[in-house]
């Protein structure tokens, strides 16, 4: 295996390309795992600053897991485990055009139920599920990001879906 001489994260060009490649995924990972209250954007930045400070020690291949672990630890340091409530945007899904008051009420009810049900998922389930459903990532991509097998991802996502539906029915 050839090892390029200047394949070093300390070089701004390489650091930038790593940042571009992973920062968005990292942001989504943190957002869906920990919610918005702990400033996932700031944690992404902090994690990459850590990567820069350790640029000589971390090889580019390890950079992704380095920033994911660093950001995860930063989050965990900041707050003891608490229930994660994802906020929902004000934009309504476009699939339904019927906007009678009754429908609007049902809609907001459904949204509240969904929010509660999402908060009831485990961190691992919610992270994988939201990355799949909302960010449109395939099982394989999520498996690579989380360093787990595709089968495990499938299990998490399917489990999450099952649990969500059951919870919504129950609530």
């Amino acid at each position: 295996m050839s090892k390029p001489l200047h394949n070093n994260i300390c070089e701004e060009r390489i650091f930038s390309s790593i940042f571009k490649k992973h920062s968005k995924d990292l942001y989504h990972f943190l957002y869906y795992k920990f919610g918005d209250s702990l400033n996932p954007k700031d944690k992404v930045q902090e994690a990459f600053i850590k990567l820069w400070q350790n640029c000589a020690k971390v090889s580019p291949e390890k950079a992704k897991s380095f920033v994911f672990t660093a950001a995860n630890n930063l989050m965990l340091n900041e707050a003891a485990h608490q229930k994660v409530v994802l906020k929902h945007q004000k934009t309504k899904p476009k699939t339904y055009t019927n906007e009678s008051p009754e429908f609007l009420m049902q809609e907001s009810e459904y949204n509240d139920k969904l929010q509660k049900a999402l908060a009831n998922l485990t961190d691992a389930q919610r992270t994988a599920f939201m990355m799949n459903r909302v960010e449109g990532k395939r099982f394989k991509e999520i498996a690579a990001l989380l360093n787990i097998s595709t089968k495990a991802v499938e299990k998490r996502i399917y489990g999450a879906l099952k649990k969500l539906r059951a919870d919504i029915k129950e609530l």
């Binding site: 918005d36 820069w52 949204n111």
Partner: protein, 298 residues
């Protein structure tokens, strides 16, 4: 194909046309699509990679200039050391100060065999810990020094500095009045950065900034040590000032010349006798009312 497998494939966006039709026919199809569309409202805030990269790079550049990690604990230690040293220097350079009130005299033993007799209403300060290196005392008022032989001994006053080596001498520094009398040994007086050497019996007197020549002193100790004040051709006001310090009284003068020269003595332990002694030679009369005394020339 089984239902579970279809849903999993749908989740992974991996349905082919045929499978999709089958998925559509599932009884939970509607429910799943509804859930899926509502899930979109929980999407994370938009994230601009370029913006984030720029802010991260600028953060990196600004942190680079900051002091390194090891500097912080080092600064903490340095601060503690500085405080300790500061306290140490403060306590060791702290002066010992002795005050005497009106009509009070006291004898002070200095760290070596030297001693100081402090006259009324005077302040003496010296540093115990630094005594070996520097025998310096600060004086406001009047004191008689018996200095043990050794390195130079300095008396620092507002009017001047008196430096000696093992001797006996009296320093009197009052308002507009600075007098040094040497009784034994050799005394150097620095006044207005001019040094005058005094041999036993010599005195050095400055009143109102003017140097006044005095005759030789014959006594071996200053008169105040024997509870008396002696004056030889001194302005009457200095006599009154000393009297006020010894008896805690105030004078009011009627028709009296304060600059008139006075030669005489008054004791420190008998106010009536003392009053007579300062008034008779100048033919003054006095009336005493508690702590105020009126002097009058008939």
């Amino acid at each position: 194909m089984k239902r579970e497998e279809l849903i999993t494939k749908w989740l992974d966006n991996n349905l082919n046309n045929e499978e999709f039709e089958a998925f559509k026919n599932l009884e939970d199809y509607e429910d799943l699509i509804k859930l899926n569309s509502y899930l979109q409202t929980f999407k994370a805030d938009s994230y601009s990679v370029d913006k984030a990269l720029n802010s991260t790079l600028s953060a990196i550049k600004s942190t680079k200039k900051q002091p390194k990690q090891w500097l912080k604990p080092l600064l903490k230690i340095a601060a503690i050391l500085a405080i300790c040293f500061g306290l140490y220097f403060y306590t060791t350079t702290l002066n010992t100060t002795i005050n005497t009130a009106i009509a009070e005299k006291t004898e002070i033993e200095l760290p070596d065999a030297s001693s100081v007799l402090l006259n009324a209403k005077s302040i003496l300060a010296f540093n115990k810990n630094n005594w070996k290196n520097e025998r310096n005392v600060t004086l406001q008022g009047e004191a008689f020094f018996k200095v043990a032989k050794g390195s130079s001994f300095s008396v620092i006053t507002n009017a001047g500095i008196v430096t000696v080596y093992g001797t006996q001498f009296n320093v009197k520094q009052r308002e507009n009045y600075f007098e040094v009398i040497c009784y034994e040994g050799l005394v150097g007086v620095t006044h207005n950065s001019q040094e005058t050497k005094l041999k036993p019996g010599d005195s050095f007197l400055i009143i109102d900034g003017k140097k006044i020549a005095l005759e030789k002193e014959n006594a071996s100790t200053p008169s105040w040590l024997n509870n008396q004040s002696n004056f030889k051709s001194l302005p009457f006001k200095t006599v009154l000032a000393e009297f006020e310090r010894q008896y805690n009284v105030t004078f009011s003068l009627i028709n009296v010349n304060k600059e008139e020269l006075f030669t005489g003595t008054f004791p420190h332990d008998d106010i009536d006798k003392a009053l007579k002694l300062i008034t008779l030679p100048s033919q003054l009369t006095f009336s005493k009312n508690k702590n105020s005394i009126i002097l009058k020339r008939e």
